[in-house]
């Protein structure tokens, strides 16, 4: 599970507990202007993720770390597919974040409302 905060004009994602170990990352700070949108998407976990370059992929247990795809680098931190939220980015190290949030729909709505229209 990740904590997702909106502080000023940035989206701050903080990984908690052992997730830091699996994903090899503690915090991501993204300017809201670089956030293109957020979507609750339980189905994404079943799909092709790309080539893992850093982190952990135990199918059915946890997907955590950095995956390289034709579209760019994607950061994953998901145990429970039902709670997956997809955050699409621009001009960032990662092109997309797939993270787990306690209430995916409310989290996605909160990010959509906060982001600066491109």
């Amino acid at each position: 599970m990740a904590r997702i905060d909106i502080t000023g004009d940035a989206l701050v994602i903080t990984l908690e507990g052992l997730d830091v170990l699996w994903a090899l990352k503690k915090r991501l700070t993204i300017p809201l202007a670089h956030v293109r949108g957020a979507t609750p998407d339980p189905g994404i976990v079943r799909g092709f993720k790309g080539v893992r370059t850093k982190g952990t992929n135990m199918p059915g247990v946890i997907v955590a770390g950095t995956f390289r795809t034709g579209e760019g680098r994607i950061f994953w931190n998901v145990r429970d597919a039902a709670k997956a939220v997809v955050i699409e980015l621009a001009d960032e190290e990662y092109t997309r974040l797939v993270i787990e949030a306690p209430d995916p729909r409310a989290t996605a709505d909160r990010i959509e409302r906060a982001r600066t229209p491109a």
Binding site: G37, T39, G43, E71, V86, A118
Partner: protein, 160 residues
């Protein structure tokens, strides 16, 4: 951005509009959108940013196509009622489901209502009358979903 998408964005948006019109915003998953549009999940995210981004594009498409077609027809009031609510189903659903909680949806629904107001306003008539007429006609479409044929709008159109 001028870069080829690898899929027909217009067709994808039209397919999404049909899906959202039938299943609502909350009732449509990204899995549903991937199946209905035939576009890869990653491409949907890359192009539209989010499900909401695609929803807004779909609603804009609906207003530009379906609402505009009715507004530009020779007899907009009859065209609107004649559609039986099918053609404007997405507009009605967006107004009920999303307009109160999403400013960009409210703006797009407002644009549709303005188009209908302008089309329905008799020459020289009070703009408030056109707004009331649009509201009444859309209300008839809603009513027809539960009681088809019970209220036909005949009294509204006669008194025009």
């Amino acid at each position: 951005m001028g870069r080829p998408r690898g899929f027909d964005e217009r067709l994808a948006v039209a397919a999404a509009a049909e899906l959202f019109a039938g299943r609502s915003y909350d009732g449509t998953s990204v899995d549903d959108l991937v199946s209905a549009t035939g576009v890869h999940r990653g491409s949907l995210y890359k192009t539209f940013g989010s499900k909401r981004g695609l929803y807004l594009a779909a609603l804009r498409h609906h207003v530009d196509q379906d609402v505009t077609r009715i507004a530009q027809s020779a007899d907009p009031a009859r065209a609107l009622l004649g559609s039986g609510g099918e053609e404007l189903g997405f507009l009605l659903l967006a107004a009920a489901e999303r307009a109160a909680v999403d400013d960009e949806v409210a703006a797009e629904v407002g644009r549709a209502l303005d188009l209908l107001d302008a089309a329905l306003r008799p020459a020289g008539a009070d703009p408030a009358r056109a707004a009331d007429l649009t509201a009444a006609l859309l209300g008839l479409l809603l009513r027809a979903r539960a009681q088809p044929g019970r209220a036909t709008g005949a009294t509204l159109l006669v008194s025009q």
